[in-house]
């Protein structure tokens, strides 16, 4: 057993803090009946719950990718232990086959040969220009290169059967859970689920899980033998890149909202409640900020940050730490430039709330302004905050892709949807075209953002006081 050293990156810390905060908020919600009722409405929304299931899968990948460590290098006993420069995550360890089985360059999905012709030395001293055989993709087939379809189909079928079995086990578990709950109607848990008699949208969750298992299990099974999404320019497996991109997207989406939220909420309420010169100052700030082209502002800030990072190499012991700092810097910059929308929304809502009679009643009692804000205004704005949070998430994931494409996003060594698309840009221009890198990044990001948007819709429906 090799020794290892746990590496705690700043972004890891923030993301686990968020998980803890999420659990804390969950406990708080469970104690507040109106919030609980609203989340129950989310739980009853079929589309929303299906989206939440997909989102949870993405979050699980991201969390696995947020446990970092460095492997101990073989050294002579007695010497001070030294560790590898490369920082790995639990996801890297699980997906080791994907990470390590690199080819020389491009290869198409399920290919057994490279995508470019090379000169091959034949035993007789002759040379031949041909597509060379891949080192790993389909290597178990040996000479039977034309049997790919049959082999992959059979494997996929076997994996699919296994997935169905796993799903049946899960569904039985869910049915047992429903059965144990309060039984108003005399029916088995299984019947209740499919007759939609449960308060929670179990049928949608189970269907989504079933679909996901049917796709994911065969995919990973096959990924052990083939490059299912192909390989990129340096021969790295595209599926592995997609998995690694998930964490980057999640961090950009979550940490940025964390940065912008306190600012937007505080300034928005203060402007709306106190009005007068405070309102003027805050409005001027966000109007000015809004009128500077966003990309320009972000580019300037990111480039300055890059200069700082480059001139202080002694701060970082590994490349991962350097990339991580740049990622966080990007989050902060995005956060500082994107609070204005929510702030404006909250200011308007506060303006409306402060004229309501219960606020005036509190004023008539001489309740202090901050107490009014905390007790009366903030709780009545929470639905807007929650809706904005969930909706901003998808926007930020897309923003990262655009910024990385322009070259002012995350560190070029960090894998993200944006860097994948950026590197795929040139590949689209060559003939024959290399499409799989872009397609994989596009599909994964599309699913993530679509799930986030559908979930946001469900949350908005449940929290919008006018709809309830």
């Amino acid at each position: 057993m090799m020794g290892f050293q746990v590496v705690l990156l700043w972004s890891d810390m923030l993301i686990w803090l968020l998980v803890v905060a999420g659990i804390g908020v969950g406990v708080l919600v469970a104690k507040t009946p109106p919030l609980l009722a609203a989340w129950r409405r989310v739980g009853a929304d079929r589309v929303g719950m299906a989206a939440a299931t997909v989102l949870l899968a993405f979050i699980a990948i991201g969390l696995l990718d947020s446990l970092h460590y460095r492997v101990q290098l073989d050294g002579k006993p007695g010497q001070k232990a030294s560790y590898a420069v490369e920082v790995l995550s639990v996801l890297d360890a699980l997906a080791a086959p994907l990470r390590l089985r690199n080819e020389k360059t491009y290869s198409a999905p399920f290919a057994t040969r490279l995508y470019a012709k090379e000169t091959i030395d034949l035993p007789g001293g002759e040379t031949l220009r041909d597509y060379p055989r891949l080192k790993h993709g389909g290597s178990h087939l040996g000479e039977r290169e034309d049997a790919v379809a049959a082999d992959a189909g059979l494997t996929a079928f076997r994996a699919g059967v296994l997935a169905l079995l796993a799903w049946a086990a899960l569904a039985a578990g869910a049915a047992a859970l429903v059965q144990r709950g309060p039984a108003a109607v005399d029916a088995s848990g299984w019947q209740k689920i499919w007759r939609r008699e449960t308060a929670f949208a179990w049928d949608a969750v189970l269907l989504t899980v079933g679909l996901m298992l049917l796709v994911v299990v065969p995919l990973f099974w096959l990924a052990g033998q083939y490059h299912v999404f192909g390989t990129d320019k340096v021969g790295q497996d595209v599926l592995y890149q997609v998995l690694k991109s998930v964490r980057t997207g999640l961090i950009i989406g979550l940490v940025t909202t964390l940065v912008m939220l306190p600012m937007a909420v505080l300034l928005g309420i203060v402007a709306g409640y106190f009005r007068g010169w405070m309102d003027d100052v805050i409005q001027y700030i966000y109007t000015v900020l809004n009128s500077i082209p966003g990309v320009l502002l972000i580019a300037a800030a990111v480039l300055m940050m890059q200069v700082v990072i480059d001139t202080h190499p002694q701060w970082f012991s590994t490349a991962a730490e350097r990339a991580d700092l740049r990622l966080l810097a990007l989050c902060f910059i995005l956060g500082i430039t994107s609070w204005t929308g929510l702030c404006r929304l909250l200011r308007g809502e506060t303006l409306k709330l402060r004229e309501l009679e219960y606020i005036q009643a509190a004023q008539a009692f001489g309740v202090s302004s901050w107490r009014i804000i905390v007790r009366h205004i903030l709780p009545n704005l929470m639905h807007i905050v929650i809706i904005a949070l969930v909706m901003d998430f998808s926007g930020l994931v897309l923003a990262e892709a655009v910024l990385s494409y322009v070259g002012i996003g995350v560190d070029p060594t960090m894998i993200s949807f944006g860097t994948m698309i950026n590197s795929a840009r040139m590949e689209l221009g060559r003939e024959p075209v290399v499409w799989w890198s872009l397609a994989a990044a596009f599909t994964a990001m599309f699913i993530l953002v679509l799930a986030a948007n559908l979930f946001a819709d469900a949350v908005r429906d449940a929290f919008d006081p006018r709809a309830a």
């Binding site: 009946p33 109106p34 009679e357 009643a361 509190a362 008539a364 009692f365 009366h376 709780p379 009545n380």
Partner: protein, 659 residues
Amino acid sequence: MLQVTNLRLGFASGKKMLVAVDGISFVISKGETFALLGESGCGKSATAQGIMRLLPAAGRITDGSVRLEGTELLTLAEADMRQVRGARIAMIFQEPATSLNPVLTVGMQIGEVLDLHCGLRGEPARQRMLELLRQVGIADPERRLDEYPFQFSGGMKQRVMIAIALAGEPDLLIADEPTTALDVTVQAQILDLLAQLQRERGMGMLLITHDLGVVAKMAHRIGVMYAGELVEVASREEFFSRPQHPYTQALFAALPEVSRRGMALTTIPGQVPSLAAMPASCRFADRCTHVMPVCREISPDWRGVAASHTLRCHWSGSTAVVANHTPRMGLGHLMPEMAPFLDVVDLKVHFPIRRGVLQRTVGQVLAVDGVSLAISAGRTLALVGESGCGKTTVGKALLQLVKPTAGSVRLGGSELVGMQGKRLRAARRHMQMVFQDPFASLNPRLRVGEIIAEGMSALGLESDAAAQGRAVAALLKQVGLPDEAAGRYPHEFSGGQRQRIAIARALAVQPELLICDEPTSALDVSVQAQILNLLKKLQEELGVAYLFITHNFAVVEYLANDVAVMYLGRIVERGGAEEVLRSPKHPYTQALLSAVPVPRLDAHSAAIRLPGETPSPANPPAGCHFHPRCPLAIDVCRQRYPETSEISATHTVNCHLAR
């Protein structure tokens, strides 16, 4: 002409169907006004929407037939139905402010109907529009036609709405609470207009209202609705002389009136059953004073008591109005007259109008312009006036929620104007406010207990939690709510219960003066009676003084010791309730009193109709503010504001004519 038979409609909620209107039948003939009377939530508006087939998305018509001169409306294709709406049946709505499109001129909105249903366009259409506007009494129609809704006042907008409804020359007009959002003087104008138009054109009219006074003035026949059913149908004479159904009788008995001064009002216990839990028996059984065992088993059938009078009730007891066994209650005027507890002298609240880049003040809105009041402990002063006269601003300025521009507010000897910080907070203990809308005045995210305790914690009255809990429980008991209410949220309570919570919150700091800003105007008659009874009881028990801000004269007559009438930021007449209401001296007070629709047959002798509406307080007329609308105005009225003249020791009036 219109024949509604066994109409049933409901709202889909999940897989269930909530029946809102359950098998109602009535007919309306040409030139007749049929009034649907009932409290909120009993299905009046749903019936009208059902007839027009304009139910919201969840609404379904499950049964019955609606025939307009023989044509079955419910089976008509939607395209044909569009020919019926506007051309044969027109509708006017409650809120004139939202029923006109703000970005289209009035002419375009009338023209749309003319184009659709009469095929008129261009010059003929314009002529017709001018004619319509003249018909509904809008002066200078040539200019008004090209104006936008925001340039019209509330009453004018309702007139335009009526003009639009008339444009298609309908046979039937459905008026859904057409005057509820309007002031009494304007309400009188609109009701007169509707009655006159109906006479001229021989239209049928379905009038939906909750106001017995409006019914008495307008209706030929009346149908009383309760919980989705018609319970009594009678002609106007029968209805007002011999109401039969216990619910109708209770509605009459719940009205505050001068004859009931000093007595508790009859209230209807309980609430309308919810749509989800309608009893299969008589729906009124649980709240009925004459309930019999049979009422709880069988739903009563229609039975006739006179030629034009039918009802659904098992009880056939005497027609005598509910016996006056109601206990006499505390009379405010039994309290000895003392030195005024609250003394307001020449209070002014001006709001600057700012314009331009530099936000320079270009004018002042004189919301309150020199108001003097005095309230003694344990008495009730009613501040009466139409909307926009500044009466709510007076209430807020007294509490220092709005900073007065000038004047003095002395509370128990200490001057409140200009008081700051801690001392103001301490002074606020003596004075609290109950607001108009019980739905907006309670924070939906706090428990009732927390809401009531807020004032105590803020003013540092009860610091430890246990004592606070006890105090909250005592307050809840005082306002007639169960103890366990403290742990629940406001949305679990009905409007009347919420108003009780608001009163409990105000009482929590033991104030000597309660400013009630239209506390019952958002409530139904039966609930209003409960709240008025509660306020009286509290005054008797605690000796609280009330400043009662209202536009409802019935409530004033019932409750007030003193009355002050406000017009455009100033008090025009002030005195004891008897003096002001029996022998009003100011022409405005006289007009207001005569415009109030009275729920009796014999009312309406020589009503004084005021032309126009209250002018803007940013730009009050020169001289006496009232002279442009005053039927008795003379030259001196146009030149200077009248001095205060004393009619008696307590009765003062500001009018040149009352000397």
